[in-house]
């Protein structure tokens, strides 16, 4: 399958930017308005899934290769754990909010407020988005093998193992 019709391709090439921007907005304003790292990360993943469904697998694989997505996933988890360790170093307790009212001057209702909470939101968003993208990409890869006759060989492999 090399993608869908030209209507779907055109519309999704316009909409993908808006979806990605909306995900970034949801992540950045997670401590002021409804939303946060979880919802924003899933929205970021869904923009890439839209590209994958509309244009086929090769374009997405050229834009965001599988090793890069896997490294982003690990980077998000590592950053979130590092925020906890930094709280241990600077505040004395694991996961204490070490930036709040201590190193950065900040007012409530501003974008830069809440100390380490926006940083945690970004790390969580990166982690959730990359890992969900990885799962759906893996499902797609296996389905392509399936259509190229992979199913026949897979079933044949199963039959051979039954005889053994």
């Amino acid at each position: 399958m090399k993608g869908m019709t030209v209507v779907v391709k055109t519309v999704s090439s316009w909409v993908k930017v808006l979806i990605f921007l909306f995900g970034i907005y949801i992540i950045l304003f997670g401590h002021l308005t409804p939303g946060g790292g979880f919802a924003g990360g899933v929205i970021l993943a869904s923009s890439y899934v839209l590209l994958m469904l509309a244009f086929g697998r090769d374009l997405v694989e050229a834009n965001l290769p599988l090793p890069v997505a896997s490294k982003l996933d690990c980077l998000g988890a590592f950053l979130f754990a590092m925020i906890g360790v930094l709280g241990l170093v600077f505040g004395g307790v694991f996961f204490v909010n070490f930036l709040y009212q201590k190193y950065v001057p900040q007012e409530p209702f501003d974008l830069v407020s809440g100390g380490a909470i926006p940083l945690s939101n970004m790390a969580i968003g990166l982690k959730v988005g990359a890992s969900l993208f990885l799962v759906i990409f893996a499902l797609t890869v296996f389905r392509y093998d399936f259509q190229d006759g992979g199913r026949k060989t897979a079933v044949a492999d199963g039959a051979e193992q039954q005889k053994e």
Binding site: G36, P108, V135, L139, G158
Partner: protein
């Protein structure tokens, strides 16, 4: 009583997961149970006539750093919402894991029927 309907939803999911023999149907039953449990937890924290637990600018006094009493008395419970928020994303991850097991089983045996699979094993 909304709790009773929520319990009915949970029981439908449990029936589907226990009785059906199609693998994808079992996954769907587990998903229905997840929805029911999330809904029940949020319902436990609902205050009738309440507002969402997000502080407005009007409810906050900048000088004394105090929050207005009308928000304190009207806000719904934020604790179950924070628990359910993580639970929803975990349910998506576990759904992907279960579906990948189903696809792999289909590629190996050519069917979703668990009784067929058991007979082939035996």
């Amino acid at each position: 009583m909304p709790y009773a309907l929520c319990f009915l939803l949970f029981m439908i999911g449990l029936y589907c997961a226990v009785v059906k023999k199609n693998m994808v149907k079992i996954v769907l039953g587990i998903m229905i149970m997840e929805y029911a449990v999330n809904l029940f937890l949020i319902m436990l924290g609902y205050l009738s006539g309440g507002v969402a637990p997000i502080i407005n600018r009007a409810d906050y006094d900048g000088q004394t750093q105090a929050i207005a009493a009308q928000f304190l008395n009207a806000s719904v419970d934020p604790l179950p919402q924070a628990l359910v928020l993580t639970s929803i994303v975990i349910s998506l991850g576990s759904l992907a894991l279960m579906i990948s097991i189903c696809i792999r089983t289909y590629a190996k045996y050519g069917t979703f029927d668990i009784t067929e699979i058991r007979r082939l094993r035996g």
